[in-house]
């Protein structure tokens, strides 16, 4: 400021003031030139009057290119009114503080900026222009957008995303983590991650932290975790080290996928697979067993026909009665096969057949052709091996047919167990055996079969007796399954009283 009353003092002051102003100006120029922010001035018509080095860097325009030109050069075309608005505010004496907007660089690239605009006044106090400080916030905006994007990903993730420091203290906990573990973020952040580790895995957290500290990643590690309600869940976790700007590991970020349902499904699939395999094994065994039985029956039928052929080979013809007897045997085999197949359906490992079923069905068949004669039965329930059942049915068929043929009246059939021995008795009320009856030398083919079957297949003995009350009785004793000693796995015989 000039002083008109004391010229010497005024002169001295003027020099001092000038020096001071020069110093101040130099200082301001240095500040403006070294500023990281663009500092630009313009007049009230929007014509640029100064342009610092930072403005050159931010906008790409050199000072000499743009000073004297309108500020609208750096205003995006889609904001035609912004410059007028700013200048109007300035003319009115207002400042504009930290106004975030966009500007266009010389190369056409759009940048985000924060601007502060102040009026520039003449020494007389008249507003003659505006000084603008511009900060390029493009990177900051990008980082903010990136951060928001990542936050959205984390928040909307189906997987739990959790971070912890190197002491295992939880530092972040997304909504999926809340859902999977049952802990709210505010309940667990700041607490130890050990809260979600099952008690039987005490070393797991420290092992994971040790790997992270060594800079290692852990990829898809399947393990278990503990929910807040105490339920253990199956999880797959991936752990990555979290590093600071200097590259130092400061914690770990963990992605946790709840695979409980997947594991349950896998176990269920595994169980079903095993069931299917077991069923296949059972089916294969059942088919093999059925094949064996069918083949065995065919062999028996073939053998019986062949034996009849040999028996009558010199007579050239087989009596019709013998053919009918063969028919009986075939139907007998069909009954046994039917019962065996049924027992196989109930339990494929079942090798046994009920004595009452076999005898009941067989006698029913024999009564169909007995001409109205009754066949009494007294059969104790016991379980017979399938081979025993086939043989017993053939023997009963032969003995009852013989009794019906050689006697009148009723025929009695009994099958009882005495300890581990079964006794079959077929009795009639006919004339009985002659005194000199010798079953070996006088045996016809039927009796020969009975003798052979009882001895070879049933490992038993046969007795031919006359009853005191009249009539013949054929008695066969044979061991029940547990005493056969044929190497098969046989449980104790289930001998029951007659029903």
């Amino acid at each position: 400021m000039r002083n008109s009353k004391n010229p010497s003092i005024g002169k001295s002051t003027t020099i001092t003031e000038r020096n001071h102003l020069q110093t101040e100006q130099a200082l301001l120029a240095a500040i403006v030139n070294s500023s990281e922010d663009a500092i630009v001035s313009k007049d009230l018509d929007g014509i640029i009057t100064s342009w610092n080095p930072a403005a050159e860097r931010i906008y790409g325009w050199k000072a000499e290119e743009i000073v004297g030109k309108p500020k609208s050069l750096v205003i995006p075309p889609d904001m035609p009114n912004e410059l007028a608005f700013i200048l109007e505010r300035i003319r009115a004496g207002h400042r504009i503080e930290h106004y975030e907007t966009r500007r266009v660089r010389k190369d056409g690239v759009m940048i985000d900026v924060a601007i502060s605009v102040s009026p520039v006044k003449s020494p007389e106090g008249e507003i003659i222009g505006a000084a603008t400080i511009i900060r390029d916030i493009t990177d900051q905006r990008f980082l903010e957008a990136e951060q928001a994007r990542l936050a959205a990903i984390v928040n909307s993730s189906e997987d739990a995303i959790v971070s912890k420091n190197l002491h295992g203290i939880v530092t972040s906990w997304n909504p999926a983590a809340e859902r999977i573990y049952g802990w709210k973020a505010e309940e667990i952040v700041g607490k130890s991650k050990a809260l979600v580790i099952p008690p039987d895995m005490p070393n797991e957290l420290s092992a994971i932290l040790a790997k992270v500290q060594a800079g290692e990643r852990i990829e898809h590690y399947e393990t278990r975790r503990l929910r807040k309600d105490g339920v253990t869940i199956d999880v797959a976790i991936s752990v990555s080290p979290v590093r600071d700007s200097h590259g130092r590991t400061i914690g770990a970020a963990t992605i946790v996928r709840d695979i409980t349902q997947q594991k349950r499904t896998e176990r269920e699939l595994q169980r079903r697979q095993e069931e299917v395999e077991l069923l296949n094994v059972r089916l294969k065994r059942a088919v093999q067993e059925t094949h064996h039985r069918v083949k065995n029956n065919l062999q028996i039928i073939s053998a019986m026909i062949d034996m009849q052929s040999i028996e009558y080979i010199h007579q050239e013809t087989v009596p019709l009665g013998e053919l009918m007897r063969l028919g009986h045997h075939i139907r007998t085999l069909a009954i046994v096969h039917d019962l065996l197949t049924r027992s196989l359906q109930e339990d494929e490992a079942e090798q046994y057949i009920s004595s009452t079923s076999i005898v009941g069905n067989l006698l029913g068949l024999l009564e169909q052709t007995s001409g109205g004669r009754r066949i009494h039965s007294d059969v104790q329930e016991m379980e017979l091996l399938s081979k025993q059942a086939v043989t017993l049915a053939l023997v009963i068929n032969e003995l009852v047919s013989n009794a019906l043929k050689h006697s009148a009246g009723e025929v009695d059939v009994s099958l009882r167990a005495q300890g581990c021995t079964a006794e079959l008795r077929v009795s009639d009320s006919g004339a009985g055996f002659s005194q000199n009856f010798d079953p070996v030398t006088q045996a016809n083919l039927g009796l020969e079969l009975v003798l052979g079957l009882i001895e070879s297949d049933l490992k038993g003995k046969i007795f031919f007796e006359n009853r005191n009350e009249g009539g013949a009785s054929v008695r066969a004793q044979f061991p029940l399954p547990e005493t056969l000693g044929n190497g098969l796995p046989i449980p104790a015989p289930a001998v029951k009283e007659p029903v």
Partner: protein, 167 residues
């Protein structure tokens, strides 16, 4: 029929049935040819090892019809070995699936002790069984069901194979 083996088998000559006259007519159902038994098998001594009683009776009848002498009957492999070593027969008719000791093991034990014509009998047409039977030195392999008209020629063929075997 005796089952032919693959042509690469070194056992082929031993397992091939005797050559037949292709110009001769044969009625498979002509039972009359059975009336005179078998010239080749007549008086040959045989042990039958079969656990099915009815089949055992049938086999015995067929062998008797062929003119053979049945010198032993057994219902399991163990008994079969005992009978054969005791009676030293010309032939053994051995079922495979039997209790206590199966026919293949029984036949192997017999053939380690004795040079005899062993014919294996089975309800199962399994290559594995056939290969094992061949490996232990059996002379024939017969499938069930059998009949007199089919078994007697098969026993004859097996016995011919046995006769051709080097001592």
């Amino acid at each position: 029929m005796i089952q032919p083996l693959p042509s690469t088998s070194p056992w082929l000559p031993l397992w091939t049935a005797p050559a037949q006259d292709p110009s001769r007519k044969v009625d498979p159902l002509d039972w009359r040819r059975l009336l005179h038994g078998s010239a080749l098998l007549r008086d040959k001594r045989i042990v039958i090892v079969e656990d099915e009683g009815l089949t055992q009776i049938q086999l015995r009848k067929i062998c008797l019809l062929a003119g053979m002498e049945v010198v032993g009957l057994a219902t399991d492999g163990e008994q079969g070995v005992e009978q054969v070593l005791l009676t030293q027969p010309d032939m053994v008719l051995m079922d495979i699936k039997m209790p206590i000791l199966d026919g293949l093991n029984a036949a192997e034990r017999i053939l380690q002790e004795l040079s005899v014509c062993v014919v294996m009998l089975t309800a199962y047409d399994l290559d594995d069984y056939k290969a094992q039977a061949q490996a232990i030195g059996a002379c024939g392999y017969v499938f069930k069901p059998v009949s007199a008209s089919s078994l007697i020629p098969q026993l004859e063929a097996a016995y011919t194979v046995f006769q051709r075997k080097p001592a």
